[in-house]
């Protein structure tokens, strides 16, 4: 696998779309390309943020935050 192919596979990898038989080959290439590979994969995770930011934010009820903060307080106090 050359680096351009690795880049294509990386974009599939970060969204979990590689098939199991492709993952093994991807991991071998990842080792082969070392830091360059890790840096590229880290950049690809920006796709996650982009997809999330492409959605219109949804309103959640105030009760959710109240429950969350109560749980956090209980955990801290425990």
């Amino acid at each position: 696998m050359n680096f351009e192919q690795f880049q294509n596979q990386s974009r599939l990898y970060v969204i979990g779309a590689l098939e199991p038989e492709e993952v093994e080959e991807f991991e071998k290439a990842r080792q082969k390309f070392g830091k360059k590979a890790e840096d590229f994969i880290a950049k690809c995770y920006a796709l996650h943020e982009a997809f999330a930011l492409s959605l219109r934010p949804a309103k959640s009820s105030d009760a959710i935050k109240e429950r969350l903060m109560a749980m956090v307080k209980a955990k801290k106090d425990a």
Partner: protein, 181 residues
């Protein structure tokens, strides 16, 4: 995130105020159920609180870490409940996952995010519909290439090509935004 890592509950409160809308939208897009999305949102922020020590700024921005976590939890939830059929039915009935009204005074953060959303949507909508569909099914529904091929009655190789081309176009199209994300 530093505050949360130090056990500061106020920092979590601020993080929640800033990002709950984005994460809720993502969860809703996956599971299409308001009540389940609220429950999951609460669980995810609790996990953020519990797992904050595992966040490393060297590996990316806090939002990216939270989105990855939220997406994984939402897709796990969808699979566990075997709700594909119900979600599909709802999906067909919904053109938008959210009502238009999100009525309150927008903060500077929200205005910035709104501009970002417009830019990202412009890039995504420039893709052919088949590429958009393949990416949507892979990212928001956690489908494998084989599952997408079966669902869309498309050869596996075509699905792979659509995903590769579509993701590359989005990745390249977001170059200018990437440092901000």
């Amino acid at each position: 995130m530093k505050g949360i890592q130090a056990g500061d509950a106020d920092a979590l409160s601020q993080l929640y105020d800033r990002y709950n809308g984005i994460l809720k939208a993502l969860i809703l897009r996956v599971i299409h159920n308001e009540a389940e999305a609220d429950d999951l949102l609460q669980e995810i922020f609790m996990e953020i609180w519990n797992q904050a020590k595992n966040f490393s700024p060297q590996k990316g921005k806090p939002l990216g870490w939270m989105v990855t976590l939220a997406r994984r939890r939402a897709i796990d939830g969808l699979r566990k409940k075997q709700a594909y059929a119900r979600a599909e039915e709802r999906l067909q009935n919904e053109t938008e996952q959210q009502p238009d009204a999100w009525v309150h005074n927008a903060t500077e953060d929200e205005i910035m995010l709104s501009d970002t959303r417009v830019l990202i949507r412009k890039v995504i909508s420039s893709l052919p519909p088949a590429q958009q569909q393949a990416i949507d099914l892979a990212f928001f529904r956690g489908m494998s290439q084989r599952e997408i091929a079966a669902k869309t009655n498309t050869p596996l190789g075509t699905v792979k090509t659509r995903l590769e081309l579509g993701l590359k176009k989005i990745y390249d199209g977001l170059k200018d935004l990437r440092d901000e994300l």
